[in-house]
């Protein structure tokens, strides 16, 4: 089998992993003339986009799609009939360098099916990174999948080469994971995430204490992340977001990715064979952002009785409609915390409002220059030349006017 054919099989096998980030790592480049590559610590770079709207930043592949596990939702499960392939370490190294030199990618995201044992699999994955870093002095981005229960020395070595490590929790509820992925052990996954956090903390504290003579071993400067599949089981949005809050707090994850379960070739009958719930996935990302950057608690975001986020309107707007007594809010006076809760107000807009209002008051005509959608925000705010009609906030019709005419997709809000 030639490398091109292997690449087709092993990229196809890797595409259900949503993560493709190349951001948030340390600053590195090759201007010393010794190696190849650099990082873009600020925002990462997406070198292309596929028609599924997902960015292509890294060469995202499996080392092999042969797997001992039989996770029902997974295209690579042991009982699937998909064609199998396995890259050699050198093939992955060469492909990564060849793609990188042409500016196709920011680096490599390498994962693998579990073959032989956790340690054997992890050792194979680590060998690729070791070769890239040590023999080729590759300074680009590396994301490695961590195999739960792999030996501590291997994990420490992985963290020495990788910018990011990740372990996918896949399904939020333990009972459901046991059914869908009988060999996976969520406790082992959590224990390994815990080990990663201890190592990340240690490296982080080392950096803080002695910025120059740092003696703590380097460890995954872009942190760790995970992924949950949405829609493969009956877990509610509340359950998913509770799990996220727990994981963010417990293991300081940089990101939790949500991946709408999508039909796979040669799928198991035990799973819903339908179009992936893309709008639900989008709402979960919005809710995740509200938790991390807008000061919301899970309990506030999801309506207690429903347990699910509204698909029609975004979760912040839904919250505002449930808490109309807190509005209208005077934009020229309100605190940062309160401003962040206004529908249509993003973190950047709020920063600009706070800077602007020190100098001059904010009027309705200014909203466009702050990139705030007027129709969404106006019913909830007071400006120096605008006050919403009191009937509007109390009316049943307010919620109606936000119902979408067409399905909204994309991540920004």
């Amino acid at each position: 089998m030639n490398v091109q054919r292997k690449l087709e099989i092993l990229a196809d096998a890797a595409k259900y992993d949503a993560s493709c980030a190349s951001s948030g790592t340390e600053k590195r480049d090759s201007s010393d003339g010794k190696g190849l590559g650099s990082t873009a610590p600020g925002m990462g770079i997406c070198h292309s986009y596929a028609p599924d709207g997902r960015c292509i930043s890294l060469l995202k592949i499996l080392l092999t799609n042969a797997c001992n596990y039989d996770c029902l939702y997974c295209v690579n499960r042991a009982s699937s009939n998909v064609p199998r392939a396995r890259f050699t370490v050198d093939e992955v190294v060469k492909l990564t360098l060849d793609f990188y030199r042409r500016n196709y990618i920011e680096g490599l995201f390498l994962s693998s099916g579990i073959i032989r044992s956790a340690d054997y699999t992890m050792e194979q994955v680590v060998s690729v990174a070791r070769k890239l870093r040590q023999e080729h002095h590759f300074r680009g981005y590396i994301h490695l999948k961590t195999i739960p229960e792999a030996d501590d020395a291997l994990i420490a070595e992985a963290g020495q080469y990788a910018d990011r490590l990740s372990i996918n929790i896949e399904v939020p509820e333990e009972a459901s994971l046991a059914k869908l992925a009988p060999e996976k052990d969520v406790r082992a996954i959590r224990r390994t995430m815990g080990r990663l956090r201890l190592k990340l903390d240690e490296a982080g504290e080392g950096r803080k204490l002695t910025p120059k003579g740092n003696t703590a071993p380097k460890f995954a400067p872009a942190g760790q992340s995970t992924q949950m599949i949405v829609g493969a089981d009956s877990a509610s949005d509340r359950t998913i977001l509770d799990t996220s809050a727990n994981l963010y707090g417990s293991y300081r994850l940089k990101r939790v990715y949500y991946s709408a379960f999508s039909p796979i070739p040669d799928a198991s009958h035990a799973l819903p064979l339908s179009a992936p719930p893309l709008v639900r996935e989008h709402r979960l990302y919005q809710a995740d952002w509200l938790m991390r950057f807008y000061g919301f608690d899970v309990g506030e975001i999801v309506d207690e009785t429903a347990g699910m986020l509204s698909l029609d309107i975004d979760p912040k707007l839904a919250w505002a409609l449930r808490h109309r007594d807190r509005f209208p809010l005077d934009v020229n006076r309100a605190s940062r915390e309160d401003l962040l809760r206004v529908p249509g107000f993003g973190t950047k807009a709020v920063d600009r409002i706070i800077a602007t209002r020190r100098v001059t008051s904010i009027r309705a005509a200014d909203l466009a220059r702050l990139h705030i959608p007027r129709n969404k925000a106006l019913p909830f705010i007071v400006l120096s030349d605008h006050r919403p009609s009191p009937h509007l906030l109390d009316s049943a019709g307010l919620a109606e006017r936000f119902k979408p005419k067409a399905t909204q997709l994309g991540f920004g809000f």
Partner: protein, 481 residues
């Protein structure tokens, strides 16, 4: 007054001219700007040289204006020089103007700067090198069509990234080259001068097609980030149309296709991580294994793992704490966090070697509520303490210490099987039902929480004194009295 700048990116020229104009009180409407040779219009006014003799007086601008102007000046909008001059003019009387994001001039300048940075970012992303020659002598050449005047701005990024290869980025307006030592800029060239193929492009296109998930078409999201104007220079873009067309067919086939019978050859080997068979033996290791799977109260769910006791299997002294904390939960070992460090110090001062101590907790899972990036410790309640007590009882039975030290109220409640006020019972030996004695003291984390230094020192000393009692007792076990 008309000013002609040397080039589209002549920031220094603009800055010098603008400075002279401001100092000479030339109002913005009186100035027009153009770039040398860019648009030699018939009605272009003759060049005015701004007065060179600097009038007295200086003025300063916020540092962020310089940043903003340096970026915005690379925008292709011919009005940019005038907008920035107007902004500069107004900044003299209103130093905070740049904070007013709602001001039309500020807003426009910021929008231009943002567009320039986006274009630069997209150039970093969408340049595609093609290799000419092979191996050591190869040269990598790309053709790119930026929207703004950003070639010089974007070039250093490629120099830092591809330091070990010779490369050129050709564009209609300017070209950037790197020879391994320095970046050089030359005039623009036509597209025909760029190479048209590369041996890796077919492999890259196959990757692009394979990483695409046809079940989740989001064409608008793709176009928002990768607008059509870039497509003509991206080797993978010719696949977009056929992939979209094939997507619905492919998805329908996947949904309609029944799951096939698994290959016989794909028999499932042994699970990689063998589940430990639970043992019923009474030694501490087998109790630990059983406790790892404990579900007697709901705390296991949010925690990472059971944090079981640790120490010599027949230690003369057993220390019982409340519950594992954040660090203990991650490490799976008791007393490794800040309270553990405090305890270690106190033990050493009391003359108790860690090797003689078995440390454990009344409750063996971490109870907390997540608050953003941290976990707030929660005190375990009576039913959780009760649910966990059998593990403590089995540890006690297995280790058989001479003395149990209960640190804090939760530990005391577990050790005595009922609520015991720490202050009333502290510092005296109490006989337990079958064998060992017990001593009550505070939990080391209580010492960590005390706000004032004096109280902290005093309470720490009392804690060490309590431990000294324990030290005396294990040195001469006096069960006979």
């Amino acid at each position: 007054m008309h000013i002609t700048l040397d080039s589209e990116t002549d920031f220094d020229g603009w800055r010098q001219a603008a400075r002279q104009l401001v100092l000479n009180d030339v109002r913005p409407p009186e100035v027009t700007w153009s770039v040398w040779g860019a648009a030699p219009g018939l009605f272009e006014p003759p060049d005015d040289v701004p007065p060179q003799d600097t009038p007295s007086g200086t003025f300063s601008v916020p540092a962020k204006f310089v940043d903003l102007a340096q970026s915005a000046i690379l925008h292709r909008n011919p009005e940019r020089f005038a907008i920035l001059y107007r902004l500069l003019w107004r900044l003299r009387s209103n130093h905070d103007l740049l904070d007013v994001a709602t001001d039309p001039d500020v807003s426009q300048a910021m929008t231009m700067a943002k567009a320039v940075h986006r274009d630069e970012h997209k150039m970093h992303a969408f340049v595609r090198f093609r290799e000419i020659g092979r191996e050591q002598k190869s040269h990598y050449v790309a053709w790119f069509e930026p929207e703004h005047h950003i070639v010089e701005l974007a070039a250093p990024f490629f120099a830092r990234r591809f330091a070990d290869m010779a490369w050129s980025i050709l564009t209609p307006e300017a070209c950037a080259h790197w020879d391994g030592r320095a970046v050089s800029i030359t005039p623009g060239v036509p597209k025909a001068e760029a190479p048209t193929q590369d041996r890796l492009e077919e492999t890259w296109r196959r990757y692009y097609a394979s990483i695409f998930n046809p079940a989740r078409l989001k064409v608008k999201a793709m176009q928002k980030e990768m607008p059509r104007k870039y497509w003509r220079n991206l080797p993978e873009a010719s696949l977009i149309k056929p992939l979209i067309e094939g997507a619905e067919r492919a998805t329908a086939a996947m949904i309609a296709g029944a799951a096939t019978t698994p290959h016989k050859a794909q028999k499932r080997p042994e699970p990689v991580m063998p589940r430990t068979p639970s043992s019923t033996a009474g030694d501490i290791e087998s109790i630990r294994e059983q406790a790892a799977a404990c579900r007697a109260c709901p705390l296991w769910k949010d925690a990472t793992q059971t944090v079981f006791g640790e120490g010599p299997p027949h230690a003369p002294l057993m220390l019982v704490g409340e519950q594992p904390g954040d660090k203990e939960d991650l490490a799976g070992r008791p007393f490794v966090g800040p309270a553990g460090q405090m305890l270690d110090r106190a033990l050493e001062q009391a003359g108790i070697p860690r090797g003689k101590v078995y440390v454990t907790n009344a409750v063996k899972h971490f109870k907390f509520v997540p608050r953003g990036k941290i976990r707030l410790h929660q005190k375990p309640n009576t039913s959780e303490i009760r649910a966990c007590r059998p593990w403590y009882e089995r540890e006690l039975k297995s280790v058989q210490p001479d003395l149990v030290v209960a640190m804090g109220a939760t530990a005391a409640q577990s050790v005595f099987g009922k609520i015991m006020p720490v202050n009333k019972t502290r510092g005296r030996l109490i006989d337990l039902a079958d064998g060992p004695r017990a001593l009550v003291t505070v939990h080391p984390s209580y010492l960590l929480r005390l706000p004032d230094a004096e109280a902290k020192a005093r309470e720490y000393q009392r804690f060490v004194d309590d431990l000294r009692m324990a030290a005396d007792l294990i040195r001469k076990p006096a069960r006979a009295d």
